[in-house]
């Protein structure tokens, strides 16, 4: 059970207009584990991440080929609704982006549109649990009616995580969730990610190798649209097979 495959991707190519952004990437993401994507800027790790919940669909010129299967179903299949897919594969962005609404409404947004709560009590329960999961409940429980934009950067990001969790996803994608945060907030979010691993499959894109080493169980190294290496995190950081990986990890480029 421990190493069950949640998302299986095979020969994925992504094109932005004429640019070949992702070249033939195949990789499997495990359930109840944290997978980290690392690599220098512009290597395609974020692009690949956005393929996993079809966020790339919102960009007109973007084209994706290959197979990506969630629990064995092709997510680019005809009958798959990207809207429903994104409910199962949630996402947290680089910059905290709370809606200009109250904290409660921010978290309740997902459950409301997906109809997860049958009544107000259910909704309250979902919001509270999500905020607890995101380790921010104690800080905001007395001011749920205040706008989410009034929180500090780290709180905003945890609010966004709570918002993603409230939709009850199976997979959580995180696109450099700590890059806009200070070290203390980063530590809080990292701790949170480690906890979230108990219930979800988490994929995180990060610039920081330390972060990848701290939170992830598996790590993939991207370079210029290619995935050069994918293995246990401990293996990647101690004994990488690929020369480029080695160079990147030791800080020779990137």
């Amino acid at each position: 059970m421990d190493s069950r495959i949640k998302i299986a991707s095979k020969n994925v190519n992504v094109y932005y207009g004429t640019t070949h952004a992702i070249k033939n990437v195949s990789l499997d993401i495990e359930d109840r584990a944290v997978t980290a994507f690392i690599g220098p800027s512009g290597c395609g790790k974020s692009t690949f991440l956005r393929c996993l919940n079809r966020m790339n669909d919102t960009i007109d010129i973007c084209r994706v080929t290959g197979d990506i299967a969630l629990d064995g179903t092709d997510i680019y299949g005809r009958e798959v609704d990207p809207v429903q897919l994104r409910a199962r594969v949630g996402m947290v962005f680089q910059k905290p982006n709370p809606f200009p609404k109250s904290i409660f409404d921010n978290v309740a947004y997902g459950p409301r549109i997906h109809g997860l709560a049958q009544n107000k009590a259910d909704l309250d329960a979902i919001v509270e649990q999500s905020l607890r999961r995101a380790a921010i409940w104690d800080e905001v429980k007395d001011r749920l009616d205040e706008p989410g934009t009034g929180l500090s950067g780290g709180q905003q990001q945890r609010l966004c995580i709570a918002r993603a969790v409230a939709t009850a996803p199976e997979v959580l994608l995180m696109d450099e969730p700590c890059s806009a945060l200070d070290p203390i907030a980063t530590a809080q979010v990292e701790e949170l990610i480690d906890e979230l691993r108990q219930s979800y499959s988490v994929v995180i894109v990060t610039h920081s190798m330390q972060q990848a080493a701290r939170v992830s169980q598996k790590t993939a190294f991207f370079h210029l649209g290619d995935m050069l290496e994918y293995d246990e995190t401990s293996k990647i950081f101690t004994n990488p097979e690929n020369e480029k990986t080695q160079q990147y990890i030791t800080g020779r480029f990137g």
């Binding site: 966020m55 409910a87 199962r88 949630g90 947004y109 997906h114």
Partner: protein, 463 residues
């Protein structure tokens, strides 16, 4: 003759430039570095003063001379009339004076009677004096300015700083004209408004703001109006009704068009729809007026008749619909701007949670863009209230207090145009007309200020 004086002043200015420049070069004695300012700055300094003094005196003398000539002409005409025992109305006097001027200047006068010819002789004499005084006075002033500045040329003279200061004040004056315009609007409107309230209707403010009968020019006795006939409520109601119809057309169409263009349309659809809306915005209002009068109003009347409704041929509905069409591009482009100003990260956040585009727009984008949209609507309303040609050409002229959009109603702007372009006595008609204009100015100003303030605070939110 007088254009040549202007030309001569310019020539003096150019000569002054040359002379002062060479004097500066000479005074430096070969080492130009000794000069505080480069020689041409000495030239420019002199040139500016010659132009300012020369042209200033020219304009002042010309205007004063014109006023003096005008009053002398009137006096002379009165003398002439007194000698023949004729009495003329003001407008007939004006005609004789303008004919006399035309005779002198070689235009085609409406007729040539003895009075006109005598007046023309008199005018010719005055005109010679006027031109002489203006020419001599302004040329002397220009020459004097040149003399003074020429004396000032010296090695240490800070010509550059001084001429830049002059140029800077010219720039400042240009910027101040915008403010002066506003002051001018307020001053000119207030004067006539006070005249209307205190003299023409004897301080009865309530009669204007709450009265329901508008027919200000009927029952005027020696400049005083009947307070029961200056009630502007029917005009306000008519303006409001047409504005509301216009907004009912423009807001949904403009807003849905903006939503579609910003979040749904393909690049190619945007490429033709946006210019299409811009074309709609560029059509002059008089063309919309023609369209309303010749196509829309007859169509609505015929349609109404076909379904058994009685529709006035100048119905509020027709004017309102066409005005709405005019305002569509206004609402859509402003809304498009504010919708686009909502950061992409909010859209991504919503899509990432599995929201559809419609849900994202309704629950995230529109609430975020609401202040901007509200201000767009307010600006559109202000434009509709102040719009003139469509209503002048397609709405009614009689003040009619009704709730029925199929009847003819009149508006504030229509009444201003009727009062000031009709066959009316300007001195009497301008009171109510300017009062309506002032009301219009205040209401639109209020809407604009509120709208601009909302937009400003909204900008600050996302910048």
């Amino acid at each position: 003759m007088l254009p040549f004086v202007v030309l001569a002043i310019m020539v003096i200015a150019i000569i002054a430039f040359q002379l002062c420049r060479s004097k500066a070069v000479a005074s430096a004695g070969g080492t130009l570095a000794l000069l505080h300012s480069r020689p041409s700055y000495h030239g420019v300094y002199s040139l500016l003063w010659v132009l300012i003094i020369g042209l200033g005196v020219f304009i002042a003398l010309d205007l004063i001379g014109f006023a003096i000539v005008d009053s002398l002409m009137r006096g002379e005409l009165d003398n002439l009339l007194a000698s023949t025992g004729e009495t003329l109305r003001q407008i007939e006097k004006d005609l004789r004076i303008s004919d006399a001027i035309k005779i002198v200047r070689g235009g085609l006068a409406s007729s040539e009677g003895p009075i006109r010819l005598e007046l023309a002789d008199y005018f010719a004499g005055l005109e010679r004096w006027r031109i002489g005084v203006v020419a001599v006075g302004s040329l002397a002033a220009a020459g004097g300015a040149f003399y003074v500045t020429y004396q000032q040329v010296a090695v240490g003279f800070r010509a550059r700083n001084r001429s830049e200061r002059i140029l800077r004040s010219i720039l400042w004056t240009a910027a101040a004209i915008a403010v002066l315009t506003t002051i001018g609007i307020v001053l000119s409107l207030i004067g006539e408004t006070m005249h209307f309230f205190f003299t023409q209707i004897d301080g009865r403010f309530d009669a204007f703001f709450f009265g329901t009968t508008w027919s200000p020019l009927s029952g005027v006795h020696s400049g005083v109006m009947d307070p029961t006939k200056v009630g502007a409520i029917p005009l306000f109601a008519g303006t409001l009704m047409i504005t509301m119809i216009a907004m009912l057309v423009a807001v949904p169409i403009g807003l849905f068009a903006a939503i579609y263009l910003s979040d749904f349309a393909s690049a190619s659809a945007r490429a033709w729809a946006k210019p299409m809306l811009e074309v709609l915005a560029g059509v002059p209002t008089v063309v919309y007026g023609f369209f309303a009068a010749i196509t829309v109003a007859p169509f609505i009347r015929d349609f109404g008749e076909a379904v058994g409704l009685s529709v006035a041929s100048e119905s509020a509905l027709a004017a309102g619909i066409v005005m709405g069409i005019m305002i569509i591009p206004f609402i859509s482009s402003l809304s498009d701007d504010v919708i686009n100003a909502v950061p992409q990260s909010l859209r991504d956040g919503s899509y990432g949670l599995g929201a559809t585009k419609a849900e994202t727009i309704r629950k995230v984008i529109l609430p975020a863009a609401l202040p901007g949209i509200v201000s767009a609507v307010l600006l559109g309303m202000s434009r509709a209230i102040g719009e003139t040609m469509i209503v002048v050409m397609a709405a009614g002229q009689g003040a009619n207090l009704t709730w029925n959009p199929l009847e003819a109603v009149t508006t504030v702007t229509v009444q201003i145009v009727m009062l000031l372009t009709g066959d009316t006595d300007m001195a009497t008609a301008s009171g109510p007309a300017f009062t309506l204009g002032f009301t219009l100015f205040c209401v639109t100003l209020l809407l604009n200020v509120v709208a601009l303030r909302i937009v400003r605070s909204y900008r600050e939110m996302y910048d």
